[in-house]
């Protein structure tokens, strides 16, 4: 039994023109059994910073709580929101602290940095950062996601088109993976608003 495939997950983030989109599936399973169809994998850190966590669900929840804790203290001390790059460095440091007993998650971080420039990155479970200019993927459906994103992605898409692209990429990829799916949860973030949508795909 592979521990990273125990619960099943799919997370993807894409860069658009002064905006970004981050999406995940909604299935929570215990190996072959589906337990929930509304599991939150993506969470907001602040209005211009989101983190999606794939992997073991208990670590997803705990890691999210720890990161929110750190960010809240940072906000109080420094009287400002964390920049996405800074947050990514923080996540990497927190994951590496547990180098020999790691959190079994792969984070996907997406945010708008200075001048509303979109920033995305992913890292492995011990904090090795991977920055990308177009898209990042993680989870049990990651191989299908890589293929779908590579085929469908275009640079400088506006928010509407970005939403369509990321939704199609997500749904087609999770359909090829039995451990992820049961719909999708998409956030499209522009400098002025956050659009949240639930997708209905193959409910299996």
């Amino acid at each position: 039994m592979q521990i990273f495939e125990y619960n099943g997950s799919a997370v993807v983030a894409m860069v658009g023109k002064n905006c970004f989109a981050i999406a995940s599936d909604r299935r929570l399973g215990v190996q072959l059994q589906t337990i929930a169809t509304d599991f939150q994998r993506i969470s907001k850190i602040h209005d211009h910073l989101f983190i999606g966590l794939s992997g073991l669900a208990t670590d997803v929840q705990t890691l999210y709580q720890r990161l929110v804790f750190r960010h809240k203290l940072y906000q109080l001390r420094e009287e400002r929101d964390m920049k996405p790059e800074t947050f990514a460095s923080l996540v990497s440091a927190i994951l590496y602290e547990k180098r020999f007993g790691p959190y079994l998650c792969q984070p996907v971080i997406a945010g708008l940095g200075d001048d509303n420039k979109p920033f995305i990155c992913t890292m492995d479970s011990i904090g090795a950062k991977e920055l990308a200019k177009d898209f990042v993927v993680s989870g049990t459906a990651s191989e299908s996601l890589y293929g779908a994103c590579e085929a469908m992605f275009k640079p400088d898409m506006e928010a509407e088109e970005l939403f369509e692209t990321i939704s199609q990429a997500l749904l087609s990829s999770v359909d090829r993976d039995c451990l992820s799916g049961w719909g999708g949860h998409v956030y499209v973030v522009t400098p002025n608003e956050i659009k949240e949508k639930i997708l209905k795909g193959r409910m299996d």
Binding site: R77, E78, K83, E85, T86, S89, L90, A93
Partner: protein
């Protein structure tokens, strides 16, 4: 370090509500060599007297103004050895912040952490407060900043301030001369004039030290040649 007679805090409250050790520490600061700082519209300057014990001392080896990070510098009045310890601790804290966030530490955060260290030494057993007040000059995203940190651990942001022997004359002079829209070079001239006010003997590039930081966000200690240029302009 295990003797029970000494494992109590020297900073226990007096009946009048003061911490006597901190008062004494401030006295130590007040009898130290004068140092001062000015915040200009486009930078910060800090300066200090550098009176050496004898003419035999190699003045090039004495550096009172120190970097904490590439864009934050500091100077002190009071006990030199205590200053060295604080500089070491502050530099470590700045590097830890950089390592964690991959972002240079904001001036306010570094000042706060240094002040926390100084406060800890007023509330622990078997230690004494630091006998220095620091002037911290930095330039970050919030612009030029000048902070003073006292032995008690309290810190203040100043437009212009002085510490040490000549503090009251220096502050009066600064109050008269300081303007908000001063540029960095004007501020350096004003700093030199303020130091001259209470200077015993002839002021020269060998017995003062000046550090500055401008919009380039690089803190530099001026060379004696540069100080000579500014002194000539002031004459």
């Amino acid at each position: 370090m295990g003797d029970s007679q000494y494992s109590f805090s020297l900073t226990t409250f007096s009946p009048s509500g003061k911490l006597v050790q901190i008062e004494h520490a401030l006295t130590a600061v007040g009898s130290g060599q004068t140092s001062l700082g000015l915040k200009a519209s486009n930078g910060v300057v800090i300066a200090t007297e550098k009176k050496l014990l004898s003419i035999l001392v190699d003045e090039a080896s004495v550096q009172k103004i120190q970097h904490l990070t590439p864009n934050i510098g500091t100077v002190y009045s009071g006990m030199g050895p205590d200053f060295r310890v604080l500089v070491r601790k502050s530099r470590k804290q700045a590097e830890q912040y950089l390592r964690l966030y991959k972002e240079p530490i904001p001036v306010t955060q570094l000042v706060r952490e240094t002040a926390t260290v100084m406060q800890e030494f007023t509330q622990s057993g078997g230690v004494r407060p630091f006998g220095v007040s620091l002037l911290v000059a930095g330039y970050d995203d919030k612009g030029p900043q000048l902070y003073q940190v006292d032995p008690s651990g309290s810190y203040f942001s100043w437009k212009a301030s002085a510490m040490g022997k000549n503090v009251s004359n220096a502050k009066t002079f600064l109050e008269k001369r300081y303007t908000e829209d001063m540029e960095l070079d004007d501020a350096i001239h004003t700093a030199i004039l303020t130091l001259k006010e209470g200077f015993e003997g002839e002021i020269s590039s060998k017995n003062i030290e000046i550090g500055k930081i401008g919009a380039d966000k690089v803190f530099r200690v001026l060379t004696p040649a540069e100080i000579d240029d500014y002194l000539a302009e002031v004459e």
